[in-house]
């Protein structure tokens, strides 16, 4: 029997239209927009000014606190302006706009094929290099990886879990990467094991990616301690808590971090970025992005420089279809609807998904018929319908008591609701209010 998490879950149509394609390198665009806030935590501190010349891989913003990450130029050229630019969330935030000239890389970065020796690198050295390379979680949460690898005092990891579930419908970036860079990923896993000093690593992959499971399983014996774990196709298999539960049977408590159960979780894309940082001294300046959607002509996986406006990706995939209702950064369940096609790809952009107007339009909400389907599918064991009802009456305290903060916002409740109730919207509102209240009390 395939492993899976123990409560709830749904199985939306997989729609992996771009599966199987090797990532294609997207030509460098004429201009990139690199936001200074591409990670959880404080925005990075700007190091360049208008008119400065930059090279590919050059540091352009320094981490500005413990939870923050460095930002590097993904292209070579001239900084044309520093401006506030809308990001995936729709808010205007500081960004560096660079006009591209040639593609001159920093000398310290090794060319593809060349490698640095990695044997016996001390853990601190690996973590330091990850920090220097500006690596954050590429799955979408964009949490700085070096922070994750530095457990708080008293905590010790004993297992590294690699998230290759890619449970969101449509997305295939991690799948493509696992097929194309299998050995690099396994080397990256070994490096991460060295960094957090664990003997065991598990790569969890949903069973709809048989080719990736087979390829990695064939290679894994050469990498001591690395196991490939096929997982049941069930959303949200790649949720951090769900994945730890599925693979180890350990359940992370309310409000706790994975490290409380001895686990550290990293995404496949992150592992490959770690490999490139340690072995090629290459900072995180590009990533694989799926460009997909039912209307799109040529669904594909692209290797894209960070800061490339999504317009270029869509054009490569056959252009913006006439009938586009939504451009989504990320997957259909947890991604964000972009306000236009000029939003740049950031470190956390795993996909660009186009949805036709009719599907993008929400249907009007009706009375709850108490069918209990949302309760049955909630992967955190909450009562989504009840949380929504009390949210409508602004019962924030009661929401907190009913564990609203446990919600991982996977969206399964709104997806499932036969009455089309915007359940997750109301849960988010409640979470927000509870957070505000906690901040006031602190």
């Amino acid at each position: 029997m395939l492993k899976t998490f123990h409560i709830g879950g749904i199985h939306p149509p997989e729609c992996k239209l771009s599966a199987g394609g090797k990532p294609v390198v997207l030509p460098v665009p004429g201009q990139v927009v690199i936001p200074l806030s591409q990670h959880a935590g404080a925005p990075a501190k700007l190091l360049v000014a208008k008119g400065d010349e930059v090279r590919t891989g050059m540091l352009i913003a320094e981490a500005s606190g413990f939870i923050s990450a460095r930002i590097h130029s993904s292209v070579s050229g001239v900084v044309s302006k520093i401006d506030d630019v809308a990001d995936a969330g729709g808010y205007r935030k500081q960004a560096v706009v660079i006009d591209v000239k040639d593609d001159v890389w920093e000398d310290a970065i090794l060319r593809e094929g060349q490698t640095l020796p990695t044997d016996d690198l001390p853990a601190e050295e690996i973590i330091e290099r990850i920090k220097k390379a500006g690596i954050v979680g590429l799955g979408g949460a964009m949490f700085p990886t070096h922070v994750k690898l530095t457990p708080p005092p008293g905590c010790k990891a004993d297992v590294l879990i690699i998230n290759g579930a890619e449970c969101e419908p449509y997305l295939t970036a991690d799948h493509a990467l696992m097929l194309e860079k299998s050995e690099e990923i396994l080397t990256g896993v070994r490096l991460l094991m060295q960094a957090c000093q664990v003997e065991r690593a598990c790569i969890g992959i949903e069973n709809n990616k048989r080719d990736a499971i087979e390829k990695l399983s064939a290679l894994a014996p050469h990498y001591p301690g690395v196991e490939i774990v096929p997982l049941k196709v069930c959303y949200p298999q790649g949720g951090e808590k769900q994945l730890i539960d599925a693979i180890t049977g350990r359940r992370v408590a309310s409000g706790a971090l994975p490290i409380s159960e001895g686990a550290i979780v990293d995404n496949i894309g992150t592992v490959f970025a770690v490999y490139e940082a340690i072995v090629r001294n290459k900072p995180l300046i590009e990533r694989v992005v799926s460009v997909t959607g039912k209307q799109i002509k040529n669904p594909c996986n692209l290797r894209v420089r960070i800061g490339t406006p999504v317009r270029h990706l869509i054009e490569y995939a056959g252009g913006l279809p006439e009938d586009t209702g939504k451009i989504i950064g990320g997957g259909p369940m947890m991604g964000r609807a972009l306000i236009n096609a000029d939003i740049p790809v950031t470190k956390g952009t795993s996909g660009i998904l186009l949805i036709a107007s009719q599907e993008a339009q929400r249907q009007s909400s009706r009375n709850c018929i108490r069918c209990a389907k949302c309760v049955a599918i909630c992967c955190m064991g909450l009562e989504p319908n009840y949380l929504m009802n009390i949210s409508e009456f602004k019962q924030w305290e009661l929401m907190k008591k009913n564990r609203v903060m446990d919600c991982i916002e996977c969206g399964s409740c709104s997806y499932t609701c036969p009455a089309h109730r915007p359940i997750l919207d109301h849960i988010r509102m409640g979470k927000n209010e509870v957070r505000k209240q906690e901040a006031r009390n602190a």
Partner: protein, 316 residues
Amino acid sequence: MKLIISPSPHIHSGDSIEKNMYGVLVALAPAWIVSLVYFGLGALIVTLLSVLSCVLFEYLIQRFLLKGKTTIGDGSAILTGTLLAFNLPSNLPAWIILIGALVAIGIGKMSFGGLGNNIFNPALVGRVFLLISFPAPMTDWPEPGFFPPTYTDAVTGATTLEMIKGHFGDLPAYSALLSGKIGGSLGEVSAIALLIGLIYMLWRKIITWHIPLSVIATVALFTGIMHGVDPALYAHPALHVLSGGLLLGAIFMATDYVTSPMTGKGMIIYGTGIGIITVVIRLFGAYPEGLSFAILIMNAFTPLINRYVKPERFKN
């Protein structure tokens, strides 16, 4: 191009209130066909009258009293009408059916604010109202025939539960209980047809196993114990499970979304309660059948169950 901006999720399962309501109606079809075979014209007239009057009353109340958008398209009024008909004898005079439909829709459903807000199963509110208001016609059961062309002029006899209660007559064979060639409310007679409906609803994920199984298991267990104590006084548990409206109630009435609990555990408590109350009424009460009362009583407990029985959390 105008882009739509809204929070995630950006896709929907495509499930709808209509799909669930019409799904239940499809699951009821086998039992209805059986009722047409055994009760003929009467079954046809009673069902059509009940459904049409339920839909009409909902339309009129929504349009002229609540002055809201009509909701009859969602299928819930058709379902209430069908379930009400299934709980009536097939020779019930038309005017009584109209009263039942008015009580079911008007008092049972619309007075609470329509679908989703009612606390009692509307069809059962109608049925129980008729049972205590018109006890004679409501317990006058036509004998099964083969497409009989009779309605109120049908030949009548006793139901299995009445025979058990009064200790008279020859109890029907199990084969008759399974196929439905017995006296009773028009939709309750055939165990096999109702079970086909159950399988269909489980397959379509319209309902879960919790409520039907807990009701049936509780009744079987409770009557089994009593039968073991005194077989002469208390009938065999299989007879109890297969007769009366037990399967109809456990599969189609107790599982009504709006009036049943939200969690698996809550559903089992609710189903067990229905089972116990049903058996107590059947064995020790004045009425031969107690399922309708049992469901309505447990409907009243549903909010309480929802309040105290929380789902299994990811981690406690």
